[in-house]
Amino acid sequence: MRIEARPVAAIETTGIFDFILGKLFAIVATVLFYMKLLGY
């Protein structure tokens, strides 16, 4: 007979906020900046 016990994790599904300005624009700005830095 096995006596095994393990806690199981909470289930927390997610929805992201502000993907566009926070992340996409930020990435675009970063890419443009590094392109400028490299002389393109």
Partner: protein, 413 residues
């Protein structure tokens, strides 16, 4: 604690899951996975037997050498499932949960999951796919993020659309959970530096594993349905069948972009997104992320010359393979996203310090004195994200166990 100790447990819910049992307490959202022997021991203990009597009852008629209940009792204590020991009530280690929208009942939402509704969803998504295939111009573009020229008004529109999309996404999870017969709650949190809303669906452990997919996928299904509806509305407008004033037309294009990027973001599954839960459910790993994190921590400890016990000691071999693979993905994914975030911050800092001029096209009016106006939305977004993430971290700390128990026993239990 001795062999004569009686351990009183809270009323527990039990659900068979593969070859184990999920036992838990929805009031605090604490659940444990028990083997058949551990479940039998738990039932005997909750029936009022002493530890000694429980061991004797389990061993009756069978040779059970070195039967130990200590690890089980420690787990029950740590997860807040023990109400009292020898009649002495124990302080609650976990705060009580609050559910949201409890007025919503299964009968209110069942129609959304009917075959009739499923046919409607399939027709809507097929229409949108057909429109996009026929005219790729309906695919979202980065330019759709700009609805109006003024950066502040545009930021307000983007945040309004993002908020509505996020609320609809979380509501879809809650509605699906209600359909499956469990309750849920909303909260704000973070995944690394991403600001997220989350729905606590922990009570899904009491639902059949196959049916849990419905609740996990509901958010993304909702996003795809709303994006499809928006594409169809845009197409109807362009055919002259649905009059839409420009701001609304542009806002719908923005909504398609926000919703579909939100779905794409879910594939960062190393951050415990919805896709992560689909994968974890498919593989049957109940602690995939936590085990992978513990596994990585142990590797780093060993690299630093410290000895650490194996965190996968009680994990079945098949599950261990998934945990190891997930640990690699977690390490690479997290490293990658941190690198992108760091590159962004360095770039933004340079722009701010040097006042290089607007990089993201012309801006309406200067929003910040002496700063590129078009950077204002990015900075405002960054500020909001920082506050949100700080709140998320504080909220996680509040949810940590308030009490930790250390079991002391003169004999081996």
């Amino acid at each position: 604690m001795t062999g004569k100790t009686r351990v009183e447990l809270f009323p527990l819910h039990v659900k068979q899951d593969a070859n184990q049992f999920i036992v838990g307490r929805p009031a605090t959202g604490s659940y444990v996975a028990l083997s058949d022997g551990a479940l039998a021991a738990t039932e005997l203990l909750s029936g009022g037997r002493t530890v000694q009597d429980t061991k004797a009852a389990l061993a009756r008629g069978r040779p059970v050498p070195a039967l130990r209940l200590r690890p089980l009792i420690e787990t029950l204590l740590a997860t807040g499932l023990v109400k009292s020991v020898d009649g002495v009530p124990l302080p609650e280690p976990l705060p009580p949960r609050r559910y949201h929208l409890s007025v919503l009942k299964q009968r209110h939402v069942a129609w959304l999951f009917s075959r009739f509704a499923a046919v409607g969803y399939a027709v809507l998504v097929s229409l949108a796919i057909g429109i996009v295939l026929g005219e790729p111009g309906y695919l979202p573009r980065a330019a759709d993020a700009r609805v109006v020229p003024g950066p502040i008004m545009n930021l307000a529109i983007v945040w309004a659309v993002s908020t509505m999309a996020m609320v609809a996404h979380e509501l879809a999870h809650l509605i699906a959970a209600t359909y499956l017969g469990v309750r849920a709650s909303f909260g704000l949190s973070n995944r690394l530096f991403f600001a997220v809303a989350q729905t606590d669906l922990t009570d899904l452990w009491l639902v059949d594993r196959r049916r849990r997919y419905i609740a996990y996928a509901a958010g993304m299904a909702n996003d795809i349905l709303l994006a499809s509806a928006a594409v169809v509305a845009l197409w109807l407008h362009d055919q002259g069948l649905l009059p839409l004033p420009y701001p609304l037309y542009g806002t719908l294009r923005l909504a398609v972009l926000v919703l579909l990027l939100g779905v794409l973001w879910q594939f960062n599954f190393y951050l415990r997104t919805d896709v992560y839960y689909l994968i974890a459910n498919f593989t049957g790993c109940r602690n995939l992320s936590q085990d992978a994190a513990a596994y990585l921590k142990r590797i780093f400890s060993r690299l630093a010359g410290r000895r650490a016990p194996s965190p996968l000691a009680g994990v079945p071999e098949q599950e261990r393979r998934f945990v190891r693979a997930f640990a690699v993905i977690m390490l690479v994914g997290t490293g990658g996203v941190i690198a992108v975030g760091a590159a962004f911050l360095v770039g933004l800092l340079h722009l701010l310090l040097n006042g290089d001029g607007p990089l993201l096209g012309s801006a309406g009016s200067p929003a910040l004195q002496g700063r590129p106006a078009s950077l204002f939305p990015v900075i405002a977004s960054l500020g909001l994200t920082c506050c949100w993430v700080a709140y998320g971290v504080a909220a996680k700390r509040r949810k940590r166990p308030r009490v930790s128990y250390r079991l002391r026993a003169p004999e081996d239990l």
